[in-house]
């Protein structure tokens, strides 16, 4: 892998899928991504579902940037980046990816009631990592929830992942900051700016790590 330049040229268009569990901030993250596309003067479409499915359920949001975007939904095999806030949800959407996709995922686990009531078992972290590695070579595990907890609010985990994602794109940091300002409530802005920086640092060290392992 060549990490000397950004993995993606935002101008060429990008399909991003953000997934997680209701309450984790999937929709805020995708709103920020939509805003980034808008600031880059790209065409943007975004799709999500509200209502019943949000009550502790699996939540996903599709974000598409491009010169001209038609469908708000990303087709199977057309997701370029999967941003996942939860381990089980990462596995759930793997079949939408293509071999060149990138995964940025939090290993954090939220047990659904089917698991807590003993009706189903939850995939363990080792298995999840092994499967992801086998399917998508360009995978980055970022302990976003843990890092956000360190900042004093687990709800900033979504923005930690956005910070990590930003390192892979050629959009300047100012674009991301403006997008965050527009979409994050003012009283949480400084917290989220710190979360964003933490995500950037995490991704930078993950890339260093990857470079080293390629060399050795």
């Amino acid at each position: 892998m060549d990490f000397s330049k950004p993995l993606f040229d935002a101008e060429q268009g990008l399909n991003l899928l953000v997934v997680g569990v209701g309450g984790q901030g999937v929709l805020l993250a995708s709103n920020v991504l939509g805003e980034v596309g808008l600031i880059l003067e790209l065409d943007v479409k975004k799709s999500e579902v509200h209502g019943m499915s949000q009550r502790g359920g699996s939540v996903n949001s599709h974000v598409r940037w491009g010169k001209e975007v038609f469908s708000p939904l990303i087709g199977k095999g057309e997701v370029d980046v999967l941003v996942s806030l939860e381990r089980l949800e990462t596995l759930r959407y793997l079949d939408l990816l293509h071999p060149g996709s990138v995964i940025i995922a939090d290993p954090f686990a939220l047990y659904p009631v089917t698991v807590t009531s003993g009706k189903a078992s939850y995939p363990d972290e080792k298995l999840a990592r092994a499967v992801v590695k086998q399917v998508i070579p360009r995978n980055f595990w970022i302990p976003a929830t843990e890092l956000a907890e360190g900042l004093g609010n687990v709800r900033a985990a979504n923005v930690v992942l956005l910070g990590a994602l930003s390192v892979l794109l050629n959009a300047p940091a100012s674009v991301w900051h403006l997008a965050l300002e527009r979409r994050v409530p003012t009283r949480f802005l400084s917290l989220n700016m710190r979360a964003f920086q933490l995500g950037q640092q995490q991704m930078n060290s993950a890339l260093q790590e990857a470079k080293r392992s390629v060399v050795s």
């Binding site: 600031i39 479409k45 499915s53 038609f70 708000p72 079949d95 009631v113």
Partner: protein, 631 residues
């Protein structure tokens, strides 16, 4: 006369609705809006002054957005019929009006919808109906285009947020030009899809009549007048059809002549994605259909197909014109379309080569991934009530609301749910027909106001001994905690008279009525037990605000399990609270895992503490000071 409001006005409006307008480029007001937000701004720019609706996914955000724009009036009505009657009244009075609802809401409003088509109006009336293909949050996936044809009402079908905005504004002109209500039919992926929208300045439309019309031949639908109106409606339809032949919203995009695709709404986007080379007839108005335009398009292409979500509405019409066409023999008529489905169906039908498929990954076989069904939130006031009802072991006739989630294990309390307001009527009919068990009907506060009241009147009037449980969580919760007639708050944030449910129930004539706190497990069980023995109508009002309301959130205090007392019996897990989980610790004598509470999820509602047979879950008052302060 059109008055233009300075564009700063629109910018401020956008700010107020939490929609960040972009400040770059030549156009100051481009925003990333959902279809619902765009519809609201479109109605606003088109000069709507009055809007009424009832919340329902995927339509809710239209009115919520509209209500925050300047210079308008907007309200939540108790149900869709009341909302539409009110919007019709505004349009009769010469003021541009908007009514919003989900697809099944139009069933409730259908009576009003049909007479409005007969009478026409003095000013533009747009009825926005949001369909839910795939049933993300609905009991069926009925296709509203059928209602357009049924009542002879023109139907616009936007394909993205910009069109949703523009078509809503245009619908008002169309309504006035042809003296008809106009439907704007959205679908989940339009309503909850986001796209760039160029906002427009508002057109101030002064009232189109000086005083309310005295025109009984037009507005009093007694048979003699209705017979005069019907031919006018049929003739109007033909004029709209002629207009549809030339209107810019119906357009041909001629590319390759091998394949021609007729499409409408969101399906247009999937068509452009999957068949970039095909010629397309995009119908912005899905009824009435332009016969000549369709025939012209058919002649220009070798193979003609229709790609449309849900019913073969256009396809059947095209076939009726004697034109050879394919549609539902290729694409599904059940559920939502998406680019993947459309592409796979096209490959199977030989419309696209196998190589049209994007490269995918092969995921190794995984152990089955656990489902994540929607559940009642931690602290939900419905949980304990459902648990108490379950213990009666009787048939439970449910309704539409968060409490419908009581159907899923482990609560598994609800045995029927059909539509808004159905539960009480179903329980009554079953009881009167001789169903040998006691019937319980459960209904939410908002649903009770919506269509529950006439059913309860029937219970009293015709004397059925059913137990009606009104789950009063002080909000219309499932759609996002909207205010309703019981909350004392209007959509526009004004204080208002709150309907007193208990007084209303008593006024209807129910003699046995009790209001209890929905978290008071013991009292609820006692009341239900005593009601079970009575051979008269009874009503239990279980009241506690939705745990997601801001004032409730401020009161969260996570509870704790006394691990020394917990024997891992698992009774608490039967109430299905996401905050309760098995811990690593084991109760030695029984070898069972003990239970612990996730402090991040627990709100401290104490329902689990009340059901624990070992008193192992500490009540708020039992928590030591330190952990109390932590909350």
């Amino acid at each position: 006369m059109d008055t233009l409001i300075p564009s700063e006005h629109a910018i401020r409006a956008a700010d107020e609705t939490d929609i960040a307008p972009s400040s770059y480029g030549e156009h100051p007001v481009i925003a990333l809006l959902s279809g619902n937000e765009a519809i609201a701004h479109g109605a606003w720019s088109g000069g709507v002054v009055f809007a009424s609706g009832y919340p329902g996914t995927p339509s809710t955000e239209i009115l919520e957005t509209f209500a925050r724009l300047p210079g308008i009036y907007a309200e939540w009505a108790p149900n869709e019929k009341v909302a539409l009657d009110a919007a019709i009244g505004a349009a009769y009075a010469g003021r541009r009006a908007l009514a919003t609802m989900k697809h099944v809401g139009l069933n409730v409003a259908a009576d009003a919808y049909f007479y409005a088509s007969m009478t026409g109006l003095e000013a533009g009336l747009v009825i926005v109906v949001a369909d839910d293909p795939g049933m993300h949050s609905s009991q069926n996936e009925q296709d509203t285009r059928n209602y357009a044809k049924f009542a002879r009402v023109p139907c616009l079908d936007p394909a993205d947020s910009q069109e949703a905005h523009d078509m809503t504004a245009f619908a008002l002109q169309l309504s006035e030009q042809f003296d008809t209500p106009v439907l704007v039919r959205s679908t989940t992926r339009v309503s909850h899809g986001f796209g760039r929208v160029q906002l427009r300045q508002r057109v101030e439309v002064p009232p189109r009549v000086r005083r309310f019309p005295r025109n009984p031949t037009k507005y009093v639908m007694v048979p003699a007048n209705a017979r005069k109106r019907h031919p006018i409606v049929e003739e109007r339809t033909e004029r709209v059809r002629e207009y549809a032949e030339k209107m810019p919203l119906n357009r041909m995009e001629i590319r390759d002549s091998e394949l021609g695709i007729i499409t409408t709404g969101i399906a247009y986007q999937y068509v452009r994605e999957v068949f970039p080379q095909a010629s397309v007839l995009k119908l912005g108005m899905s009824w009435p259909l332009p016969h000549d335009l369709i025939a012209d398009f058919a002649h220009r292409v070798k193979r003609l197909i229709v790609v449309e979500e849900l019913d073969p509405f256009i396809e059947e019409h095209v076939r009726m014109l004697g034109i050879r066409v394919e549609g539902k023999s290729i694409f599904p008529k059940i559920g939502e379309l998406n680019p993947h489905l459309v592409r796979e169906a096209a490959i199977r039908a030989g419309l696209l080569p196998e190589t049209a498929r994007p490269q995918t990954v092969s995921v190794p076989p995984l152990p089955e991934l656990p489902a994540r069904p929607p559940v009642l939130c931690p602290g939900c006031p419905h949980r304990g009530v459902l648990w108490a009802i379950k213990k009666l072991h009787v048939p439970v006739n449910g309704d539409i609301g968060c409490y419908t989630l009581g159907v899923v294990p482990p609560l598994s309390t609800i045995h029927t749910t059909g539509c808004m307001g159905a539960g009480i009527g179903v329980a009554h009919g079953a009881a009167k027909a001789g169903s040998p068990e006691k019937h319980v009907a459960i209904i939410g506060d908002s649903t009770f106001f919506h269509t529950g009241i006439p059913a309860l009147i029937n219970v009293v009037y015709n004397k059925s001994p059913v137990i009606v449980v009104i789950m009063d969580n002080r909000a219309t919760a499932m759609t996002g905690d909207q205010p309703n007639p019981g909350t004392g708050q209007t959509l526009m944030g004004e204080e208002t008279q709150a309907v007193d449910i208990e007084a209303l129930v008593r006024a209807i004539g129910v003699k046995h009525v009790t209001t209890v706190d929905a978290h008071d497990e013991r009292t609820i069980e006692q009341v239900l037990k005593s009601y079970k023995k009575l051979n008269e109508p009874t009503v239990l009002i279980a009241r506690h605000p939705c745990a997601l309301l801001p004032e409730e959130r401020r009161n969260y205090v996570p509870l704790r399990v006394d691990a020394d007392k917990c024997d891992g019996c698992g009774v608490c897990l039967q109430i299905g609270c996401p905050a309760l989980v098995r811990s690593e610790a084991i109760h030695i004598p029984s070898q069972r895992h003990k239970v612990e509470i996730d402090p991040l999820l627990c709100t401290g509602c104490e329902v689990c503490a009340q059901v624990c047979p070992s008193n192992a879950i500490l009540f708020r008052a039992q928590l030591d000071e330190a952990s109390y302060l932590r909350g």
